[in-house]
Point group: C3
Chain length 139, copies 3
């Protein structure tokens, strides 16, 4: 049994879902582990992770519109406003989604379902650099 | 240290929570691992996983009614409607719950609390076959 | 490769977010593992886990107010009311947040981002003892 640690940095273009499946798959392939478990960890509290459908782009648009509805920007409504009106809604959206994902590795690949993609969910309006840490254990 | 991979397929009877604790416990017992970590991964984006109270069935009814309220079917409101009015709300409910669960294994069993059960949450109206992948590491 | 299991019990002071980062870090340091993966598991269905900003206390206040809005106490509205008006909203809040967290360990420490803290989210009004199970694998 062995393990590996990696880090990927992504530049987001502001609020929205950015697919990161292929970058993670490339890192995984380089580790040459056949069977194991990969854990993807987002080192931020105003960006998060999500596994979602990777086929119809309308799904991403609906997801973004939905989170804007259930965790809206609401100037004057939040106590935490120092970092701008988009920061506190970002923390709420991060709380409702995932900071980490663990996915089994089978035959050297993440065992995602046919329609599953891994997304980095940027919650801030402006572009950011986001650090994603990877842990792999297996053999 | 060793690991094991398994797959369970469940037939759901349409929208709702289906308890899958005992099927996972049976698979785990067959692996004869005393201490470790089991990861349960749902290979779908319109079904998800949840750990919830396994005692009063009213909890499940309330959970289902709640998700129907906060992520409702809303014909005409979502951009992604090709797969039916229940598909996009299913993606939203999956985003709000879990695609994977990791549970410590102690004395050969999942170390769930007394009232915790593992549920497969079917979000589509019609019955589906759902694939759940299991990864176990330990000794 | 080796693993360790631990348990921490926390006394909450009723509903709200309690930071537990330092207690987990202390346990981890005692295991003397340099690189690995730590999994934190909450053995309850009316308390849960969250990684959130650890700097401005207003973030915690906003998070608590938000969950009170989206999963409110609503006497007469839930089928499950035997355990009090705060129990079913607690299950809903647990469903929307996390029962477990997995965090990579690098150089003997959890690789949290600068602003990330680990919180135990108590959903019941009254103080409770809450059991948190820890699993560590690495070397």
């Amino acid at each position: 049994m062995r393990q590996a640690i990696g880090q990927l940095t992504f530049r987001t273009s502001g609020r929205g879902l950015k697919e990161i499946t292929s970058e993670i798959a490339t890192w995984l392939a380089a580790q040459q582990v056949n069977t194991g478990l990969i854990t993807i960890f987002c080192r931020h509290t105003s960006a998060s992770l999500l596994i979602q459908e990777n086929a119809d782009p309308a799904v991403r648009a609906d997801l973004e519109a939905y989170f804007a509805r259930i965790a809206p920007e609401a100037p004057g409504q939040y106590a935490h406003e120092d970092e701008g009106p988009d920061d506190m809604p970002g923390h709420l959206r991060a709380a409702l989604t995932q900071t980490h994902l663990s996915i089994p590795v089978v035959s050297g690949k993440m065992a995602l379902g046919t329609w599953q993609g891994i997304y980095l969910f940027e919650h801030r309006r402006k572009p950011h650099h986001r650090e994603i840490l990877l842990h792999l254990i297996g053999e």
